[in-house]
């Protein structure tokens, strides 16, 4: 069809972009995942100004330790969102998995909490992770095999699992946690809490998998256009399922760290976190529609939220204002990352 296309003009537009020289505007986009780094620096500067206590290793390590549990949930949610799905139930998994593990492990008499005592104490962590994996695979079954709406399924799971935790723990905190279960969340390696090291390693592993593993790259393809991924021979359903299982397992592991950190399985462990998780993930540049974002970006999202709280505490902002400011900062951070990346967030 020679008449339909102005061949000369189309050749002109395609050759107008030289192969070698890139315009500077194009390059900025490659760093859109770093858009929160300036925000972090500004927050650090404010912290330094408002309080001398801010820039001390104790304070910063404290912030890092407090971020660990949330950041693991963010890691999980980021993987799931990149693959084009979502899982709201993570915030309940962080509570229910340790409780089920304690229930199976703790003796039926003696302590305040009466477990079943079915399994030896050393199995508590594996059991906890297994519970997470089972939750993830059930959600995967409902969403992928039965093709139910993922939002509502995980919303239901959120409520159901929270209820399960309350029912098993009878609404109480479980304080007599086995030592092995408490170890990872409470110990320090080389002067830094083990949980921080573990988080760093898990983020590095996840980030590397997304960057350099075939199946990691597949997540972007699935989230970006699952039909295209399918025609390219990617086993979309299987990989998505595995991601959901990994996500819930990570949430269960966050439960292990949380329990170790505070010495007990608290009754409202993780309650209401999912808003923070989504906020951190999205201001960190992960798209809610799938296919876009990096784990590093998600990590900067968590750190931003945590630093804001820390700086406000140090600045002596009345705690009653915390909730308001927390919400406000999410919106401000969204605006910043919207314009730093120059892309619509839909």
């Amino acid at each position: 069809m020679p008449a339909t296309t102005d061949a000369a003009a189309s050749a002109g537009t395609t050759t107008a972009v030289p192969t070698a020289g890139r315009r500077p505007g194009l390059d900025l986009k490659r760093y859109r995942d770093l858009s929160l780094v300036p925000v972090l620096l500004v927050l650090g500067l404010i912290g330094f100004i408002v309080s001398p206590a801010f820039l001390t290793s104790d304070n910063l390590i404290g912030v890092a330790q407090q971020s660990t549990e949330l950041s693991l949930l963010v890691l999980a949610e980021a993987l799931i969102l990149i693959a084009g799905r979502m899982d709201l139930s993570l915030e309940s998994t962080i509570g229910v998995a340790p409780v089920i593990a304690m229930w199976l492990v703790l003796p039926s008499s003696g302590g305040r909490f009466h477990g079943l005592g079915l399994l030896p104490a050393w199995t508590s962590i594996p059991v906890c992770l297994l519970v997470g994996a089972v939750i993830g695979s059930v959600i995967g079954f409902l969403v992928l095999k039965l093709q139910l709406n993922g939002f509502i399924v995980t919303l239901g799971a959120l409520t159901m699992l929270r209820g399960l935790q309350v029912a098993i723990s009878q609404g109480q905190s479980i304080v007599d946690v086995p030592h092995s279960f408490r170890y990872l969340g409470s110990t320090s390696w080389l002067g830094v809490p083990a949980a921080v090291w573990i988080c760093v390693v898990l983020f590095a592993l996840g980030g590397s998998a997304l960057a350099w593993l075939r199946h990691g790259r597949a997540l972007y393809a699935i989230g970006g256009n699952s039909e295209a991924a399918r025609t390219a021979g990617i086993r979309v359903e299987r990989i998505t399922w595995i991601v959901l299982i990994i996500g819930s397992t990570l949430a269960a592991f966050a439960g292990v760290l949380y329990t170790g950190h505070y010495g007990s399985v608290s009754a409202d462990q993780g309650n209401g976190w999912i808003f923070q998780v989504f906020a951190a993930t999205v201001i960190g540049g992960v798209s809610l529609n799938g296919g876009r974002g990096t784990l590093f970006g998600a990590l900067t999202g968590v750190l931003t939220l945590q630093l804001v709280v820390n700086v406000m505490t140090l600045a002596g902002v009345p705690p009653l204002w915390n909730q308001f400011l927390n919400g406000a900062i999410i919106i401000v951070a969204l605006v910043i990352s919207r314009f730093a990346s120059g892309e619509k967030q839909e």
């Binding site: 069809m1 020679p2 008449a3 339909t4 296309t5 102005d6 061949a7 003009a9 189309s10 050749a11 537009t13 395609t14 050759t15 972009v17 030289p18 192969t19 890139r22 194009l26 490659r30 960057a211 350099w212 593993l213 075939r214 199946h215 990691g216 790259r217 972007y220 393809a221 970006g224 256009n225 039909e227 295209a228 991924a229 399918r230 025609t231 390219a232 021979g233 990617i234 086993r235 296919g291 876009r292």
Partner: protein, 529 residues
């Protein structure tokens, strides 16, 4: 159905055409969608608009309905200029369109669908449901549409839904309706009823612009026909004066006399090993009893119109559908059907039909898209090493002459033709023995088109087998052999030297007496003519 042409009744009384478009030009970027096009429809006339894909029909429809503004030309409705762009109500009172895809909302009742967005007089007036149903009943009765206004729209049959759409269109006061492929989803009896309804409306003075790929319907229904080709107006003539051959000739731009199609090509030796063999394949609702073999070194075209099943057949070979019966073998080994990774492993590469839906992850880079199918060459143990990916992508970029600032550029920044090349790169990246290319030159300029077809030829020359699934004659002309499909069955096989009209006739289910050298099987002819 009789071939009689209904005389335009109102047309004799009022000579001012309901629509008169002249010199319409529309460009999309570098693409000229319409060049100095024109059309005139008299009151009460049923006018057909035909043309091949890309002829500019849909662009004309969107200009006539006020969805798009023409770059130039004049548009008159009943002698007065077209309403201002964006004045939806004014447009709707002059022209109505029944689109290929239903715009009826299935969850709502017929009555509410008819008055959607105007159920009550004002935004704050509550809807009076009884009154609404009564108005709907009146409207349906006016056009003698026998549908219960209280019924849910999704419970209607396809043609009942179309009647409702037509009634709604007319209720805005328009006397001119555009029907965009209204028969595509109807069975023969539904088409009969639709045509009866259209004739009846015509007697009430309504004019139609009828767009269809089924040329027989044009002869059945319309009194005059306008042919577009390559964004231009080719001819307008009374249907009765235009034979089938002349019509196809006008659409294809090739005179029926010249038999030579494309350059002379060597024939593939008959003893060349069969690489792809399909036998008695059946997928309910798409195709039945299809057998086909593609030999090493051969490029075979699989022609067919939209619902012919040729696309689904191609996708089945690539593992996207699991056929109910039959087998596919690649290089003598039976393929596990319905599984894309197995098909890839067996050496089948697919250029999917729609690059946006099935081909590209547009936000990701050229390199990533081009290597999406590659599972084993980018690094050990399932790793994807950036350096190897870049090198691999660079090879594909050079191989296919993809114009891109770099391998890391997101595909969305590329022009359509280059995007299509990325999809082809993705298919060729695995070095397949069998390439299934579905409408591979869709939306690609003429240079890239030749390039891609040459590239497929190269795959065949290297001992592979290529199946080009398309309704574009340009694609098919480059093939060693063309198999035409119609309504899920093979309707004929064409050796080189076929003429456009022979092939188009077979694709449209009108295999006439001038059929080529050999025709296998008889087409299941459309039963409505």
């Amino acid at each position: 159905m009789a071939d009689t042409v209904t005389a335009p009744l109102a047309g004799t009384a009022d000579p001012t055409p309901v629509v008169e478009a002249t010199g319409i030009t529309k460009r999309f970027g570098a693409t000229v969608a319409l060049q100095d096009a024109r059309i005139t429809v008299a009151p009460g006339e049923s006018h057909a608009l035909v043309g091949r894909n890309g002829a500019g029909k849909s662009t004309l429809v969107s200009i006539l309905t006020g969805i798009q503004q023409p770059d130039g030309g004049t548009l008159l409705f009943s002698g007065s200029p077209a309403p201002a762009f964006g004045d939806t109500d004014a447009w709707r009172s002059r022209v109505a369109c029944v689109y290929q895809r239903s715009t009826i909302i299935g969850e709502l009742t017929v009555a509410e669908n008819l008055f959607l967005g105007r159920q009550s007089q004002g935004a704050l007036r509550p809807i009076r449901w009884k009154e609404l149903r009564r108005r709907a009943a009146d409207l349906l009765a006016e056009y003698r549409v026998e549908v219960d206004p209280a019924a849910r729209a999704q419970d209607l049959t396809v043609e009942q839904r179309q009647f409702v759409e037509i009634a709604r269109a007319l209720s805005f006061g328009s006397r001119f309706i555009i029907l965009d492929e209204p028969t595509a989803k109807l069975d023969a009896r539904g088409i009969d009823r639709l045509f009866a309804k259209l004739r009846q409306l015509q007697e009430q003075g309504v004019a139609f612009l009828f767009i269809s790929h089924h040329l027989q319907e044009v002869y059945d229904l319309c009194s005059s026909v306008t042919v577009y080709r390559d964004a231009r107006h080719i001819l307008t003539a009374p249907v009765a004066e235009l034979g089938h051959e002349a019509l196809v000739e006008a659409m294809t731009g090739e005179s029926g006399g010249s038999g030579a199609a494309g350059p002379a090509r060597r024939t593939v030796p008959a003893d060349a090993p069969g690489v792809l063999e399909i036998s008695d394949l059946e997928l309910p609702g798409a195709y039945t009893g299809v057998s086909l073999a593609v030999r090493s070194g051969e490029v075979v075209g699989l022609a067919g119109a939209t619902a012919s099943g040729n696309v689904r057949l191609g996708e089945t070979v690539a593992g996207l559908h699991r056929p109910q019966a039959g087998r596919i073998t690649v290089g003598g080994r039976e393929l596990r059907t319905g599984d894309v990774p197995s098909a890839l492993a067996a050496g089948v590469g697919l250029v999917p039909e729609d690059r946006h839906l099935q081909g590209l992850v547009t936000e990701r880079s050229v390199a990533e898209n081009a290597t999406l199918t590659v599972t084993d060459q980018l690094g050990p143990y399932g790793t994807v090493l950036p350096s190897r990916t870049r090198a691999f992508a660079q090879r594909m970029i050079e191989d296919l002459d993809i114009r891109t600032p770099g391998a890391a550029t997101p595909v969305s920044a590329l022009s359509g033709g280059n995007q299509q090349k990325v999809v082809v790169a993705r298919a060729l990246a695995t070095r397949p023995r069998v390439v299934v290319a579905i409408r591979p030159t869709n939306g690609v300029d003429v240079k890239s088109k030749e390039f891609l077809l040459d590239r497929f030829r190269q795959v065949a020359d290297d001992g592979g087998a290529v199946l080009i699934v398309s309704d574009e004659l340009d694609d098919l002309r480059s093939c060693d052999r063309v198999v035409a499909m119609f309504h899920g069955r093979t309707a004929g096989e064409f050796e080189p030297g076929w003429t456009d009209e022979q092939l188009v006739a077979a694709m449209e289910g009108m295999a006439g007496p001038q059929d080529p050298h050999k025709v296998k099987g008889t087409p299941s002819h459309a039963s409505h003519d």
